[in-house]
Amino acid sequence: MTASELLEVCDLAKHFTVTKGFTRPVTTTVRAVDGVSFAVARGEAFGLVGESGCGKSTAARAVLRLIPPDAGLVRFAGIDVTDAHGSALQRLRRRMQIVFQDPYSSLNPRRTIGQALTEPLAVHGLARGRAARDRAIALLEEVGLPPSAYDRHPHEFSGGQRQRVGIARALSVEPELIVADEPVSALDVSVQAQVLLLLKDLQARRGLTFVFVSHDLGVVRWFCSRVAVMYLGRIVESGPVARVFGAPRHPYTRMLRDASPIPDPAIRGQMPRILGEIPSAANPPAGCHFHPRCPRASDLCRTVYPEWRADGDGGVACHQPEN
């Protein structure tokens, strides 16, 4: 951990308990996030990838204290996020923001775009009245929307435009960190590119740090410099994007990479089959969680969860890593 690290996550865990039944209640614990650690440098775009249900969104929300983590530590610019209260938490909220997946539910249908953008300014005492309006219109311009959007309601906009409004709202409090939770996966492919370009542009212009949660490897490869691959609540491999996707060491990373389509007709039809389903986080397999689907699984893998092996700028949790 060096001084340039803006966000530091250490052994973060979030478990959900579900109690079912009346006469004999059965409590199951879902380990949505089970000891996740990573660090993000200032100005860096860090990707968090994995299948649906692997806990990447839960981890992102716990980092922002939108849900209280059960264990672990989150440090933002040296401040303990997990232990912040009252005004300290309020100040932290200003510095880290979130962009949501679904642009249709991320805006209050009854509030105008202007209201959505000026409300955070008022709450944090940044601007009011005329000044707030000017700032909101500047924000709209920054995300590529006309000033006339100010007085309109969300239902008058397309998904891509709404996502721009959501980004503008996140930017309104001038955060340093933006957690983007699948920011483009609900959009049409043509719009995806525009929004990604906008985010990239904002990152460069404002020096933003990103935690980019996605299941789309292509998007992460393009947007992020470093990436962590999650499987069933744990990080199985991390490192620079080019290395992780170029020469994956964990069999799961390899499987994910090989399953993501390559836009080249010459290698058409070589998509490997992925064996099996992601197991339930309520009842993960013993040993390495991935062993039932792993082509290289040994007896050791079936009994002992592999230790994290750090190597340079990343690491892998596998008994028999490739390369």
Partner: protein, 288 residues
């Protein structure tokens, strides 16, 4: 993105009123309610007689030119009492339902928003309240508190709090999962701000629609309580009270029961028609 500013669609509110008034049954409901409301508001000017003035010589007079709708057993003018009675009916039903909407709505909203064990306990208390028939609950309350307009309002409000808590809670359970609520939390909005600025405006229509329908129930409950003598104390004219007084002479002066009965019918029908109309236009599936 350049053509966003072409033509502004009509505001949702105005479109809603337009659709509301294009439905003849809703218009009929509005007319019926307006008649009662006008009668209540203009009672001092419309009443041909003092509603409390007893004219013992003209007791039980049938409808005629002097007393348009006849007189009761004390010789009081029925039309005047009907007009003044409308004030009590409207006042009691409006105040009781308004407080039930506010209190029940707040309980349901907060309970749904907080969730967990608190929600479970609150909703179970509401279920206990719901399990009492409203007339019985009203009777218990009035018997405990004594009969006055205030106590009547409290009693009827209490019978309607539980349904409004349920009506408010259900959409909150859906709303709180939506990203804009989470966005508010990420932006550091207080829970109070999220509830008042972001949750409430999204459920207020539901509450108002149900409020209109429940006002009709409140009118009936008020009349029923007055009828069994637990309503506003005589001699203040109320529709239920008038029916009870008239009941003693129902065989020879049936109009004493018929007129207040018709008045209740008009108001309840009017409120129900308006409520149904509101229900239809605010149903998102009925839009377009």
């Amino acid at each position: 993105m350049t053509d966003v500013a072409v033509s502004a669609p009509p505001s949702p509110r105005r479109a809603m009123i337009g659709r509301l008034l294009s439905d003849p049954t809703t218009v009929a409901g509005v007319v019926l309610c307006s008649i009662v409301l006008a009668g209540a508001l203009l009672a001092p000017w419309l009443s041909p007689h003092d509603p409390l003035e007893q004219n013992i010589l003209d007791r039980l007079a049938g409808p005629g030119s002097d007393y348009l709708l006849g007189t009761d057993q004390f010789g009081r003018d029925v039309l005047s009492r009907l007009l003044w009675g409308a004030r009590v009916s409207l006042l009691v039903s409006f105040l009781s339902i308004a407080s039930a909407v506010v209190i029940g709505g707040a309980i349901g909203m907060i309970s749904g928003y907080i969730g967990g064990r608190f929600d479970l306990v609150t909703m179970q208390v509401m279920d206990v309240l719901l399990s009492f028939p409203s007339l019985i609950l009203g009777m218990i309350m009035v018997a405990l508190l004594g009969s006055s307009i205030t106590n009547l309002v409290i009693a009827i409000a209490l019978t309607a709090i539980a349904p409004f808590a349920r009506i408010a809670r259900a959409p909150v359970l859906v709303l709180k999962e939506r990203a804009f609520i989470e966005a508010g939390r990420a932006l550091g909005f207080s829970h109070l701000r999220i509830l008042l600025v972001h949750v409430l405006p999204n459920i207020v229509t539901d509450l108002l629609v149900m409020g209109t329908l429940w006002m009709a129930t409140a009118v009936r409950t008020e009349a029923s309580l007055s009828f069994i003598g637990l309503g506003v104390k005589p001699p203040t004219p109320t529709w239920g009270g008038m029916m009870r007084d008239g009941f003693e002479n129902i065989l020879d002066s049936a109009w004493l029961c018929i007129w207040p009965g018709l008045a209740i019918l008009v108001l309840v029908l009017g409120l129900n028609l308006v409520g149904d109309g509101l229900c239809d236009v605010t149903d998102p599936k009925a839009t377009q």
